[in-house]
Amino acid sequence: MVSRKRTDTAINTLRMIPTKWAIVLVALLIGYVLLQPRLNQWLGWNLPSVASLVGDEKPTTKKEPKPTKEVVSKEKASEKVTGNVTENTSDKKTSDKKSEIAQASTTKTANRTNDPVPKDSAPKDSRPKDAAEDKIHGILKDLGRNRFESPEGLVYGPGSEEGHRLKHIERHLEDQPSRPGPHGVFDGDMKAFLVAIDRAFAMANKGAKGSSKKEDDGAVVYEATFEKPIGFLGGTDGKRRKNPALKKMRVVVRGKSVITAFPVQ
């Protein structure tokens, strides 16, 4: 009833306006009727149909699937599970994503393991052995006997006062403000430090600009300059000089074994 009254009102209004304007309005109306669904479809708009404007039909609301939230919540859940894939399988829409998410969470978990290698034992991890992240600090390959190889072939093994070279170089992830003299501090985590050491080693081997390679009684001292600061000067020298930024990395290697590595001025 209401819609009939509205239609009559519209016709009466059209009769009141000049013919040429009425034709234009009708043409526009027809154009709208034809284009409205397609525009909604193509451009993702939510234009109301003529019928809904007249009152015969409720305006359509665009119903988009909500996988994002569900996936995010699943991701969070799987993160909490830390790599355990035995989660709820009731949701069919997200079930296809599960393996992907589980894999991602395993990766995240593996990447988070920045713990240094224990002094007297190889790391006992529960991570999947076939995963690419079955590596120490994400990049070191286990050679056995507590020795680990970097992608550039540098070996980190037992030795030093700390018991393991990885433990030794870890000293350079933090400042020791009361240590006499300079103490190069790397600005990043262990994984980034190992990557930077590898890069410095490769740069010095290639003779890159700002790099050097010097032999010293069986040890080789590699140095490479990075484009951006990689750390800062710590120790009492650093404290006195207000911890200037450092761009250079020095790596001391004997054979293939890393003795030490640290940022230097």
């Binding site: 093994g157 030795g159 030093s160 006062e161 018991g163 020791q176 009361s178 240590r179 006499p180 003299g181 300079p182 103490h183 190069g184 010293d216 009684d217 069986g218 040890a219 001292v221 009492t236 020095r250 001391v252 004997r254 054979g255 074994s257 003795i259 030490t260 640290f262 230097v264």
Partner: protein, 97 residues
């Protein structure tokens, strides 16, 4: 409690380490030498004129007297008393860390 850190100077080889007095005790015989705590370069005494060259295959510094690792249980950083016993007290610096 802070412990004294006894050292001769900053390492001229690596530039970051401290050349410290390392003691090795084998069969009640005490051997003292200077060892960089960073790059493990060794000298016979605090004058740092004479280096102790490790063999090319060694990745650990070894005592020139007993040939055992200087990171072994028989070895430690020198105390002030041991530095005095070696007659090197005047040639070291002491820092509290």
């Amino acid at each position: 409690m802070t412990s004294p850190l006894i050292y001769v100077e900053s390492c001229p080889v690596c530039g970051d380490g401290l050349c410290r007095i390392r003691i090795c005790v084998t069969n009640q015989r005490l051997t003292g030498l200077v060892l960089c705590d960073e790059c493990e370069t060794m000298w016979t005494d605090p004058s740092m004129q004479e280096r102790i060259a490790p063999s090319s295959s060694e990745t650990e510094p070894k005592c020139p007297t007993c040939n055992q690792s200087l990171w072994g249980d028989q070895s430690h950083w020198a105390s002030i008393g041991e530095v005095c016993l070696l007659g090197w007290f005047d040639r070291v610096r002491i820092a509290k860390v």
